[in-house]
C-alpha cells in the first residue's frame, strides 16, 4: 500500500454532513481538496455544493470511486461509519469524531486488523499536504505553508500551534498529520514517522506528544532504530495535575511511562531534540535546518 503522502489519486468522500461536517467540508473544498461525494442517511439524492450525496458509502463508492473517507458522524454511530467505509473498500479512513466509546473502538481495531486500510483517528484533526492542496480534516488551511517539515501530533489544536510557529518562521510543511488523542486509535506515531522517513519531500520532523500512555516511548524506540531525519519533539502536560483516580490498575499497566519526564527521557536518548516549552517548537527546529 502506498503511503498517504504519495498517492496519485486523492478523491475524498465525506460521511456525516451535519452542521460541523458541512462547514468543514466546505473548508476542505476551498483549500483545493477534491471532494467527490457526501454520505448522509437522510439526504440521499441531494447535493452539497454540486457534490452528490448518497445514502450509503457503498452507493457513493460505486458512483464516485473515492480514495479517502472522512468521517464527521456523531460518536454513537461513528464506529459503524468506520466499518462501513472499510467494508466499501476505502483505503484511507480519517475519523474526526471525538467521544467514541472505548468498546466501539476496541471492535473497530479488531475488525481492521489484517485488512488493507489505514485508519487515522478517531478524535483527530486529520491530515493536510500543502504541496498537493489536500486537506482531509479540520487543520486550518490558513496556517500551513508548503515546505519540507513533517508534523505529527496526538493533540489537535496543539498541532496548529506548532504549524503556526513553523510558518511564522518561514518553515513550510511537507505534511501535517494529527493521529488523535484517543487511547485506541488507528495510525500511530510510529506509522507516520515511517512515512516521513520514506517521503522524499520531508527533511525534518516535528512530533508533539502528551502525558499518558506509552506511545511516545514506542516512537522513541523506532526513531532510534530507523529514522535518519532530524526530529524535534515536545511533550505537553508537564504541569498538569495527576488527576484523581479511583483504582490503580491503569498505573500497573503503563507504569511510570505515562509521565512527561519519562517520555522526554526516552526521546532524548533516541537522539530527538526536545522543545522544553511548546512555544519553542518552531525555534528548535529552525536551529536544525
Amino acid at each position: 500500500m502506498k503511503s498517504i503522502l504519495n498517492k496519485d489519486s486523492n478523491k475524498v468522500l465525506v460521511q456525516g454532513l451535519g452542521r460541523d461536517g458541512s462547514f468543514q467540508t466546505q473548508k476542505c473544498i476551498d483549500y483545493g481538496t477534491e471532494v467527490v461525494a457526501g454520505v448522509h442517511p437522510t439526504k440521499a439524492g441531494e447535493n452539497f455544493n454540486e457534490i452528490p450525496i448518497f445514502g450509503s458509502v457503498e452507493e457513493a463508492v460505486k458512483h464516485t470511486s473515492p480514495d479517502i473517507g472522512l468521517i464527521f458522524v456523531p460518536a454513537p454511530f461513528a464506529s459503524d461509519a468506520i466499518i462501513e467505509q472499510v467494508d466499501a473498500g476505502i483505503e484511507t479512513v480519517v475519523c474526526i469524531t471525538e467521544g467514541i466509546p472505548v468498546n466501539d473502538m476496541l471492535k473497530v481495531n479488531n475488525y481492521i486488523k489484517g485488512k488493507k486500510v489505514r485508519l487515522i483517528g478517531p478524535n483527530c484533526p486529520g491530515f493536510l499536504i500543502p504541496r498537493k492542496k489536500l486537506k482531509v480534516g479540520i487543520i486550518p488551511g490558513s496556517i500551513v505553508s508548503e515546505g519540507k517539515v513533517g508534523v505529527v501530533s496526538r493533540s489537535g489544536t496543539l498541532t496548529y500551534e506548532a504549524i503556526v510557529q513553523l510558518t511564522m518562521l518561514g518553515i513550510g510543511q511537507s505534511a501535517c498529520v494529527g493521529i488523535g488523542g484517543d487511547p485506541l486509535h488507528g495510525t500511530s506515531f510510529v506509522d507516520v514517522l515511517q512515512m516521513f522517513e520514506e517521503d522524499q519531500n520531508t527533511e525534518a520532523i516535528v512530533m508533539i506528544g502528551e502525558i499518558g500512555g506509552t506511545r511516545e516511548q514506542a516512537a522513541a524506540k523506532m526513531i532510534k532504530e530507523s529514522i535518519s531525519k532530524p526530529v524535534v519533539a515536545s511533550i505537553v502536560g508537564q504541569t498538569a495535575p495527576e488527576g484523581r483516580r479511583m483504582g490503580h490498575a491503569g498505573a500497573v499497566i503503563t507504569g511510570k511511562s505515562a509521565l512527561a519526564s519519562e517520555k522526554i527521557k526516552s526521546l532524548k536518548s533516541a537522539g530527538v531534540y526536545i522543545a522544553d516549552s511548546p512555544t519553542e517548537i518552531g525555534l528548535r527546529l529552525k536551529e536544525l535546518i
Binding site: 460541523d20 466509546p101 493533540s155 489544536t157 499497566i253
Partner: protein, 387 residues
Amino acid sequence: MQLHEYQAKEILNSSKVPIPDGKVAKSGIEAKEIASSFGGNCVVKAQVHAGGRGKAGGIKLANNPDEASEHADNMIGSFLKTFQSGDTEFPINEVYIEEASSILKEYYLAVTMDFDFKCPVIIFSTEGGMNIEEVAEKYPDKIIKIHVDPLVGPSPYKIRNLISVFKFDKEISSQLYKIINQLYGIFISNDCTLIEINPLALVEGNNLVALDAKITIDDDALFRHKDLLKLFDEAQINKSELNAQKNDLAYIKLSGGEVGCMVNGAGLAMATMDITMKAGALPANFLDVGGSASEERIMEAYNIITSDADVKLILVNLFGGILRCDVAAKGIIEGFKKYNKSVPMVVVLRGTNSEEAKNILKESSMEIYFSDDLPSAAEEINKRLGK
C-alpha cells in the same frame, strides 16, 4: 463515571460474584438496624468517590449495632479527604454497613483496558489489600496479567496457568475461574473502563469474596446505559466541575492558581498551562471546551471560570478547527452579559474565523488584551501577574 462501592457491589451481586452481606444506611438509626440484622459485628464504610478510605478514617469496625450507629453518625454529614483524592474533600452522605469477614488471605483482581495491546486485561495478584502499584514495582512476579481477545473472552488456559503458578487448590481455583469470567462479563456489558476488587478475600470456609469494589464506566458510552446513569452521585463532584460536566466541558480546578484558562483541545490546554507556569503565574484550572463547542457551551465555560474567586486573569487560547472562533467569541459575550461578571482577559485567537471573532470581542466593553501568539500572551500574563 465512578460508582460508589455499594453500587458496584450490587452489580457484582447481580452477576453472582460473591460479596459479603451489606446494605446502605443514610443515618445512624438505619445503620443500627442493618448491623442488628447481621448479628452485630460489622464494618461501616463511608461511600465516597475516593480510594484510600481506610487510612483516612472512612472505614470503621463495629463490634455491635450501637457502635455501628455511632460510626455512621460520625461519618454521615462529614467530609473525607484521602491520599488519593487530591485536594478534594468528599461529602459522606451514605455509609455501607457490611457483615465483618474473617479474612485468611487477600488477593487483588482487576479488569481494565491495556491500550498498548488494544484489548482488555485482567490483573491478578497474590498481594491484595495493599498498594498494587508498589507490588508491581517491587514484586512483578506476584502480578499476572491476562490479555483478553475481545471475541474469544478470557482464555481458560490462561486462567489455568495463573492458577498453576500460584498453586491454588481445586476448590479455590474453580471459584476464581468463575469470578474472573463474571467480572469480565460485567466489564464488557457495562462499558466499564475499570473494575477493581481489592481485596478479593479468602475468608473462613475457603470462600473468595469481593471485600471492596471499584467500578468506573466509560463516560462516552453512558448514552447506552440509562440504568447506570441513574447511579451518578452529583454530590461527589465539585460544583464547578459538575456544571462543566453537564455542559460537556472538561474542567479541573487547580488549587493556588490565578490564571483561568479557556482553551480548545486537551493538548493545547496542557500546553497553555505549561506556558502560564513558565510566564511566572499559576494556572487556576484546566479547561478544554472541546472540539465543536457551541455558543452556549462557551458561555457556561465563561461562567465557570469567572465564578472562581481565585481567578485574577483569564487566558483565552482558542485555535479554530472544528471550533469556529466567531461562535466562541459570541459565547464569551453572551456569558459576560448573562452572568454579569468580568475579569481581564488575554486573548489569543487563531484558525477558523478568528478575524471575525476578534472583531466581535473588540466591540464589547470587556477588558481584553489581544495577543497574536503564545509567547506574546505569556509576556502579557507576566506583565500583569508575574512575580
